[in-house]
């Protein structure tokens, strides 16, 4: 291997990459847009959700309940004229849930004592939006129970009805690593996996197919440069550019979205830069099997569907059927996203992640070997 030849190749590649404004824009804009867009897509919080309310009771107690709900701010209350209007609004999705307070609510609350009927309210959820309904259920149940408990405490109690300890076992829950259950860090850490797999593969594949089409790749192959030198000449400059991308993303996530890694940022950047090599090798292999640049992009997109859906980026792996989980373990992206989340959220270090790192290294070596073979073959 000749250093001089390698340096010439690297210089050539840098110039070719940086000449095309489209490539430069995608290198900067895509990662940042992905961070900002994906970062805010999941949430356990309910914010200003439209809640239809039908107050058939119209007393101080029912108005107090509605005022409590309004004051909380999670829901935007919309009075409904009739039960038919409630149903219609649910069908069109104008409201995500509806609260109906029956005329007996007030009386039951005042007379509430052992053996008497409890105060009743009805809630209808739009089950069509499963996650919204689940989140709304948790938050509404808590709000209404608290408000009604307050109302009952204010109401005069019949003698003998003391407050007693509730039945059942009290579960004291504590959330570690992300106490507010904020969705942003989870998605930010996953977005690294998305960008470093998808964008890197895409740009590499396109750049090499274009060279093949222009015939410059064949020219490289007939020079005295070896397959390894051509490979390194391609991979090192692109890898360097993507390593800069990683740093840029860490900074934007930290400064704009207030998400910094809990673990070592240096460790994260090093692992990510090595992972970029895996994606670059993947891009080389795809380019070797594609006739046109458009075909290379389409192939990358087809491989990216399982990446987004099955790597755990958007949906937790363990919720999937077992055979699908095995399949997902075969994607390097799955392991990288796991590492990224562990470092970002749980503050894990190299020792906590040994098996995952070993697997990543194994996949990387496998793909680099495959890419080297395609480099050497002369079309």
């Amino acid at each position: 291997m000749s250093w001089q030849r390698l340096i010439t190749l690297i210089r050539r590649e840098m110039r070719a990459t940086l000449r095309d404004p489209f490539t430069i824009i995608s290198l900067v804009a895509v990662p940042l847009a992905a961070l900002l867009i994906f970062g805010f897509t999941i949430s356990t919080e309910v914010q200003r959700l439209h809640l239809g309310v039908r107050d058939e009771c119209q007393t101080a107690a029912s108005r107090r309940l509605l005022a409590d709900l309004r004051a909380d701010g999670s829901f935007r209350l919309q009075p409904m004229a009739s039960r038919a209007a409630v149903e219609r609004a649910l069908v069109t999705g104008a409201i995500s849930a509806a609260l109906i307070i029956p005329p007996t609510f007030d009386r039951a609350l005042r007379e509430g004592s052992a053996g008497a009927a409890a105060a009743q309210v009805q809630i209808l959820y739009d089950g069509a939006e499963t996650v919204v309904a689940g989140n709304a259920e948790g938050s509404l149940r808590g709000l209404i129970s608290a408000s009604v408990a307050g109302l009952r405490a204010a109401a005069p109690r019949p003698p003998g009805a003391d407050a007693a300890a509730p039945a059942g076992v009290e579960v004291v829950a504590r959330v570690l690593f992300n106490p507010t259950l904020d969705g942003v860090p989870y998605m930010v850490a996953g977005t690294f996996g998305f960008v470093l797999t998808f964008l890197t593969t895409l740009i590499t594949a396109v750049s090499i197919v274009n060279e093949r089409l222009q015939g410059t790749f064949e020219q490289l192959q007939v020079t005295p440069a070896t397959a390894l030198e051509i490979f390194l000449g391609k991979v090192l400059p692109l890898g360097g550019v993507f390593a800069i991308d990683v740093v840029l993303m860490v900074l934007v996530a930290g400064l704009v979205m207030q998400v910094w890694p809990n673990g070592s940022a240096l460790f994260f950047i090093v692992v990510s830069s090595f992972y970029v090599l895996t994606s670059l090798a993947m891009g080389l292999i795809i380019s070797a099997t594609s006739g046109t640049a458009a075909e290379a992009v389409q192939k990358t997109v087809l491989t990216s569907i399982p990446l987004v859906q099955l790597s755990g980026f958007a949906f937790p792996l363990r919720n999937m059927p077992v055979p699908v989980q095995w399949l997902a373990e075969l994607f390097p992206a799955t392991h990288y996203i796991r590492v990224s989340r562990a470092v970002y959220l749980r503050g894990a270090g190299p020792l906590d992640l040994l098996p995952e790192l070993a697997l990543l290294a194994f996949f990387g070596a496998l793909l680099v070997a495959g890419a080297l073979r395609t480099m050497g073959s002369r079309a």
């Binding site: 052992a114 959820y125 089950g127 408990a149 106490p179 458009a294 992009v297 949906f315 959220l345 749980r346």
Partner: protein
Amino acid sequence: MSDTTSRSARFFSNVLAVAYKEATELRHDQAFLGVVLVQPIVMLFLFGWALSNEPANVPWALLDQSRTPASRRFVEAVQSTGYFLPPTPVASSAAGRALLKRGQAVAFLTIPPEFRRAIERGGPRVQVQLDGTDPISAARIGGYFSQIGAAFDTGRLAADAPPLDLRQRFLFNPTLRDRDFFLAALAGMLLTNLCLSATSLSIVGERENGTYEHMLASPTTAIEIVLGKLAPHVVVSYAVLFLAILGTGLVFGIWPRGSLLALCVVTLPFVLASLSVGVFVSTLASTSAQAVFVSVFFILPSFVLSGAMISYQLMPPGVREIGALVPLRWYQLAQRRIIERGADLGEIMVPLLVLCAMFGAMMLLIRWRMKPRLG
């Protein structure tokens, strides 16, 4: 009068001529036909079978300091929910925390030594520590533990009257199955993919092959060329729509509850709008690789921000509005209304009109982009 009829007749015959040429090319595009047939099957299984937000196979750690029949009964209650794997017993709090940190447990339950005595005296409590990394899973798993605790029979009756009788009902999807949510929007996702990849190469491809100039030299206008290019894809799109409806119905037993007619009506402006986004991308791009690249980065955010895969209601205000700019947002709104909630044509008017407006706006943009190059 006769002048206008002959002009409109020429318009239609020109559009048809381009459509015929386009359809002939399409019929010979093996890769395209492969994508059209394979993609619906892959997506049907992904969304119907593989993906879910509902916790399953949850690994958890257990520190049972009580070691009594009561504590074992509590563990059994957790197991019987079906969401959890068998627990990993740990000897100390630190060991449990270590499992959480390595991601080998998502929940860590500690049952204190005085658990059994507390049950007799009142006020028993257990502690659950959750890995908040994945907030949606953590919130749901925390909810399961609270429910298990509340339902646990301690042999004591509450002295007070039940404070509140909360009658809850989940309409349209009583068990909140994610499958119904995903599959309702399946056709929308498939068609977004199909329409954009079909037309994003249309203009730039002709330009690269040099056939674009041939078409301009013929007596067809830019709009006639574009409409002719869209027409065959509309037919393919309806075939994909029916494939998606049939597949969802036959494999998973989920059939549209509302009006099929309404579904077919709203599909037309959506398909036209998506196709014209592809054509617009094609007029912007200078190479076909760029065109595919840009359309990919339109498709992915469409899936995520439209609400087809993830509910847009949970996104913060600014992000919500960005999602309203993609046709898929309005189509998935209409799909959910029709397929899940049984709506008819009258209840999808707003999405229908917005989609028509989007198609109109895209056609104006395309005309504007193609004009200067005609001169």
